[in-house]
């Protein structure tokens, strides 16, 4: 599974949304209306899934899934 697919899966599972609702290029706040507590939930889920540390400032409601993928790929490359 690619990082993009895994990020999408994490979003679908933690937010309880349908896969087709996840828009890769759009901000999470615009496409899914995420709130701050959902962002905490998603960040923790991504940390567990990829075994990386993510600072709360690195992923926000304004991040798109694509930006999250880029961030995680860079963290994985650095480790």
């Amino acid at each position: 599974m690619s990082v993009e697919e895994e990020v999408k899966e994490a979003i679908v599972q933690t937010l309880s949304v349908k896969p087709e609702e996840v828009k890769v290029e759009e901000k999470l706040s615009d496409s899914l209306g995420v709130d701050s507590t959902e962002m905490v939930d998603l960040t923790v889920a991504l940390e567990k899934k990829f075994g990386v540390k993510i600072d709360a400032k690195e992923i926000t409601k304004s991040s798109s899934p694509q930006e999250i993928v880029t961030l995680i790929e860079s963290k994985k490359a650095a480790s």
Partner: protein
């Protein structure tokens, strides 16, 4: 109190969801109290409860995404609120949401959610806790969730007063309408005490029945063999409006809230004042505010906690107020059929009483077999009774001697 009327009722209870199902069940005098199935409760002194069934079939309006963030008690309240709005034939688009308010009663908060998270705190550490914990467990969470779901923005309040919370919430909602600070009120209560920690807390009060072998016979208010009440989960929500506005929009008008009073015994942390002096005073003050003659009361929906001190003091209070006529007034405890919903119970008792007015039928106190010489009123034992009810009282009491009484009148 000015002309404040009930125009909608939503109920989620172990005896059924929605007023038609609920009424069908309680008028037949059947018990819905069963052994607790949600978790292993075998080591608890009292391990029976009224548990809500088929909640999912009434939850289509609420997304899985929302439901995973909230505790069961908020879920129960959301479903009851939705049913109440539907029953009142209300589309909130036609109301000013800044002049709509929410008044709810609760006793113990959202422990089903909180307990899981506390376990995670001790097992996994700080990072194991769900970020939704902060907004899921506290007693005002359902008020917040209803407000967010419907966009309601007017003055709102959650009342925590043990088993008297929701009767107080309804009264404060009615008073806020009376002062014209709001035009529409959703008022009631919700409780979800069937969780390991909440059940433990309820057990330590020493007020719960231990007749675990015969759950359906356990809750026996005013019976000589009583040994306490049985807890239940559920929610009741009423829609309140001023009479003139309700008439203008041709709303179904069920009953008028005519009076309310609350006070405290100042006696003990669990037991009520054994003489029921302050409960009697609360009944007197409620009648005075309502302008009701004592002779005009057709029915009393009692607190009926089924403890020795609770039953005797409530009986004494009613006798103190009504004198010789007390024995002629039917006094019943319909919740003996489905359990006591604690902070939600007052709202459910109001719904039961209003349905009794609509159908000219008093629901019984079940499990009444052995008369207690100290409790000698007409408790409407075991079988529903036809009777026209124009005026009624609802009594809610809480641990630590909280008394609350509401007067209701049928609207023609």
């Amino acid at each position: 109190m000015a002309e404040i009327v009930i125009t909608g009722m939503g109920i989620v209870s172990p005896a059924g969801i929605g007023k038609a199902n609920f009424w069908q069940h309680i008028r037949e005098g059947n018990s819905s109290i069963t052994p607790i199935t949600r978790f292993d409760s075998s080591l608890y002194p009292s391990r029976i409860a009224g548990q809500v069934k088929e909640l999912e079939s009434y939850s289509n309006s609420f997304s899985p995404r929302l439901l995973k963030k909230i505790d069961l008690f908020s879920h129960l309240a959301l479903v009851a609120a939705e049913l109440a709005l539907k029953d009142a034939d209300i589309d909130l688009k036609n109301f000013d949401l800044k002049r709509t308010g929410i008044f709810m009663g609760n006793a113990i908060g959202g422990w089903l959610f909180a307990e899981t998270e506390l376990r995670d705190l001790y097992v996994e550490g700080r990072e194991g806790i769900s970020p939704f914990m902060v907004s899921a467990w506290f007693p005002a969470a359902p008020q917040g969730q209803i407000s967010i779901f419907y966009g309601i923005k007017g003055y709102s309040k959650t009342v925590v007063a043990d088993r008297a919370g929701s009767l107080m919430a309804i009264a404060y909602g009615a008073r806020t309408l009376e002062r014209e600070k709001l035009d529409l009120v959703l008022a009631g209560g919700m409780e979800a005490p069937v969780s390991p920690y909440a059940l433990l807390c309820c057990n330590t009060s020493g007020s719960l029945s231990r007749k675990n072998e015969k759950p359906e016979q356990a809750y026996a208010p005013f019976d000589k063999e009583r040994d306490g009440f049985v807890i239940a989960e559920g929610s009741g929500v009423l829609i309140l409006e001023r009479l003139d506005e309700a008439r203008k929009r041709k709303a179904p008008i069920y009953a008028r809230i005519c009076g309310f009073h609350t006070n405290c015994d100042g006696y003990d942390r669990i037991e009520p004042d054994p003489e029921g002096i302050h409960l009697a005073k609360a009944i007197e003050e409620t009648l005075k505010e309502a302008g009701f003659d004592k002779e005009s009361i057709d029915y009393i929906c009692a607190d009926g906690v089924a403890t020795l001190a609770g039953d005797i003091s409530e009986t004494k209070a009613i006798k103190k107020v009504f004198g010789k006529k007390a024995k002629d007034i039917p006094v019943s405890v319909p919740k003996s059929m489905f359990g006591n919903m604690l902070g939600a119970q007052g709202s459910v008792d109001v719904i039961t009483t209003v349905l009794s007015m609509m159908f000219n039928t008093i629901c019984p106190t079940i499990n009444y077999r052995n008369p207690d010489p100290e409790c000698d009123l007409d408790y409407v034992p075991n079988k529903a009774r036809p009777k026209e009810i124009k005026r009624a009282l609802v009594i809610s009491r809480g641990r630590g001697g909280i008394n609350a009484v509401m007067a209701l009148e049928k609207v023609k």
